[in-house]
């Protein structure tokens, strides 16, 4: 009588046991091949944008999909890092990798500060506390002199990687961005599938029980929050190098909303969902830009159809079809 149930769950958990499942290895490999070819197929800057957002969404998904924490203020880390990296590259004249590192660290520190205060709140209250702090970061970015207000920090130099290789060329920069984002995404994957990730999942499912087992839940949540903020920052810092610009858009709440959309559209709690979601939304913004006044309508229709057809997000639905976690 319980055959079917056993079969399907056996399959999934058996797959979970052997490290990264074959399927995922294959997908990552195909993705890498595709990405290496990509700058020769589409405009590299666009491709880099997709990757930055994919990393951003993946970082966000670590928190939402695997930590069960909805942050509505991730723009603060994304945008904050982008400002710091831009400033580091432009004003301090740091090399790109150091500028990106500065931005990333700054986001992590900011995440630690905000997370420390927010993490004791639950559910939607947590979301709103993070939003509140993000709005303050926005306000700060609007008022502070070094961020350049509306104009943002423009004309950020791309510089030379390690002081050696020029990233002026789009394709050169592309491979730098590819290396960083791909490594970032793999690392996020590892986090999800680490022993730490397992505890995280347990906490998400039954917090009092996890406490009673002796887990310091608050510290785990803070940890995952900081990790997520740090990777969001990495994405933001990269973006500032790609566009040579860092602006209020990146710290605005709409950006926090956008990353939620990407994650949901792709499928939260899946590995590949956020990547797909980010690719779709960025592509949409890019190619719909020429549709003029209809852009928002088309975008809206896509969201609505997306939700109605792919209720658990695109990858979520596919994953259910093939009965494998993706």
């Amino acid at each position: 009588m319980e055959k079917t149930a056993i079969d399907s769950t056996m399959a999934t958990s058996a797959a979970q046991q052997a490290g990264m499942p074959r399927l995922h290895k294959v997908i990552f490999a195909m993705l890498l091949v595709f990405l290496v070819a990509l700058p020769f197929l589409v405009y590299p800057v666009f491709a880099m944008k997709v990757m930055c957002f994919a990393l951003f969404a993946a970082a966000f998904n670590l928190l939402l999909g695997f930590g069960g924490l909805l942050s509505f203020g991730h723009a603060a880390y994304f945008g904050g890092a982008s400002y710091v990296a831009a400033h580091a590259a432009k004003v301090w004249g740091l090399t790109p990798e150091l500028a990106v590192l500065c931005g990333t660290v700054a986001a992590g520190v900011l995440g630690l500060a905000i997370g420390f205060l927010a993490i004791r709140r639950q559910g939607i209250y947590f979301a709103m506390v993070t939003l509140a702090f993000a709005q303050m970061v926005y306000f700060f970015s609007l008022q502070a002199p070094f961020t350049g207000g509306e104009d943002g920090i423009q004309s950020v130099p791309r510089g030379d990687l390690f002081g050696l290789f020029s990233l002026e060329d789009n394709v050169a920069l592309y491979f730098f961005v590819l290396a960083v984002t791909f490594a970032g995404i793999l690392f996020l994957y590892r986090i999800v599938h680490s022993p730490f990730g397992q505890v995280l999942k347990a906490i998400r499912e039954n917090e009092p029980r996890a406490i009673s087992l002796g887990y310091n839940v608050t510290r785990y949540k803070l940890m995952v929050f900081v990790l997520s903020a740090t990777f969001a920052g990495l994405a933001g810092a990269l973006k500032s190098q790609v566009f040579q610009l860092s602006s209020l858009t990146d710290v605005h709440w709409a950006m926090s909303g956008e990353v939620v959309l990407m994650t949901l559209l792709g499928g939260m709690g899946t590995i590949f969902g956020p990547l797909v979601g980010a690719a779709i939304i960025v592509t949409m913004q890019n190619y719909l830009a020429t549709f003029g006044a209809w852009v928002t309508v088309i975008q809206g229709v896509i969201f609505v159809i997306g939700v109605l057809l792919f209720r658990e997000g695109i990858v979520g639905v596919i994953s259910r079809w093939i009965k494998r976690p993706l």
């Binding site: 405009y43 800057v45 666009f46 944008k49 609007l142 207000g149 509306e150 104009d151 943002g152 423009q154 004309s155 789009n170 973006k239 566009f243 040579q244 610009l245 602006s247 858009t249 990146d250 913004q285 890019n286 830009a289 020429t290 549709f291 003029g292 006044a293 852009v295 928002t296």
Partner: protein, 378 residues
């Protein structure tokens, strides 16, 4: 031989500035291509357009892609100063041309001037000189500013304050409101309490419209204070209605009902867009005409610096803007006009909104050129 030209109209098509620029600017640009007779002159001109959503990163991404991939030669319109500044940089890198009509920042031809930028229609200094100067001279000596709290608002406020002081006026206060805001009653009350003669609105679009609407509701104007809308387009006035907007002073570079040429052109525009053109639309048209003329003379659209240099040399007699010269820093110099909004009983149609009060010559309207930005000498 054929000259291929590709123009990209990059502006706000869904946000606050969608009506005053948006699709209308693309229409105006196409009209310019047609009126220029490009096809007959052996020029293949293609016009594409995109929405920059008022975001510098979106705008610069599109601009880059246009230059790098799509072979665009010039970018037209680009309202929203932050985006315009980003696009100006990219344009210089790509040796394209930025024909800016919609943006207001004076930085485009000053702090961040570029040899490939032409700033056509207006800027905050011209607005300040126009409205600020005229209102102060007409006796509005004490000013209170309601300023949108972002770069554009600040610069408009700063420019106007200078003009007011130059003309013997004084500034009795200012308040910076978040952008965008819905409710201005509180700020208006502060303005009222300040004892100013004039409330200067250093904001734009919906903010200005709401502020004016509410000023009338709170009886500010009836109580003797007057409003000066420092940046207002004919579409904004139309949306307010003459009833509410009557008596307002404002500065524009263009009004559809100025002369036969403007009326004829505006009628054609209205056929396509269903509304009268703003000065931004007119600017997109005129700048494109001038650009195409320069391209025709050079015989190629490839070298942006050369084209802009050529534009600087030309004497332009534009159907919409009259005599125009492009200065060494890329600033287009032409007359600006001070208008007053008609009373409802004077108005003969929904778009019959302005009385022209005076003309401000280009030299008086725009700031003098900065030495280091004079690219004609380089």
């Amino acid at each position: 031989q054929d000259i291929n030209v590709k123009l990209g109209v990059l502006n706000d098509r869904s946000g606050t500035y969608a009506d005053l620029s948006g699709e209308g600017s693309a229409v105006a640009t196409r009209m310019a291509v047609e009126d220029f007779g490009a096809a007959e002159k052996g020029m293949n001109v293609e016009v594409i357009s995109a929405d920059h959503q008022n975001k510098p990163d979106v705008g610069s991404n599109i601009a880059r892609q246009w230059y790098d991939v799509d072979g665009v030669n010039a970018i037209v319109d680009v309202p929203t100063s932050s985006v315009a500044l980003a696009v100006a940089d990219i344009t210089a890198d790509a040796n394209g041309v930025l024909l800016d009509s919609g943006a207001g920042s004076t930085s485009l031809t000053r702090e961040q001037c570029q040899p490939t930028t032409v700033h056509w229609t207006y800027d905050t200094a011209a607005l300040a000189n126009g409205t600020g100067g005229a209102v102060t001279n007409a006796g509005g000596k004490k000013w209170f500013f309601l300023t949108a709290d972002y770069a554009f608002g600040h610069s408009l406020e700063e420019n106007t304050m200078a003009v007011v002081k130059d003309n013997g006026g004084e500034v009795v206060g200012n308040v910076r409101h978040p952008f965008p805001s819905q409710d201005f009653s509180s700020f208006l009350l502060q303005a009222q309490g300040s004892g100013a003669d004039v409330i200067g609105l250093a904001n734009a679009g919906g903010d200005t419209v709401n502020a004016i609407k509410q000023a009338s509701e709170f009886g500010i104007t009836q109580a003797g204070q007057s409003l000066a809308a420092l940046l207002m387009f004919v579409t904004d006035v139309h949306s307010l209605g003459a009833e509410t907007a009557q008596g307002l002073n404002l500065t524009e570079a263009f009004y559809w009902d100025q002369n036969d040429a403007t009326r004829a052109w505006s009628a054609r525009f209205e056929e396509q867009m269903g509304a009268k053109p703003t000065m931004v639309h007119a600017g997109a048209y005129s700048a494109t005409m001038a650009y195409l003329a320069a391209v025709e003379e050079l015989g190629s659209a490839e070298d942006g610096r050369a084209i802009v240099a050529k534009m600087r040399e030309m004497d332009i007699d534009d159907p919409l803007f009259g005599k125009v010269t492009v200065r060494g820093d890329g600033r287009a110099i032409h007359d600006m006009y001070l208008f007053e909004v008609k009373k409802p009983d004077e108005s003969e149609g929904e778009w019959d909104l302005y009385n022209q009060i005076s003309t401000i010559s280009g030299e008086d309207a725009f700031l003098p050129m900065l030495e280091e930005c004079d690219f004609s000498k380089k």
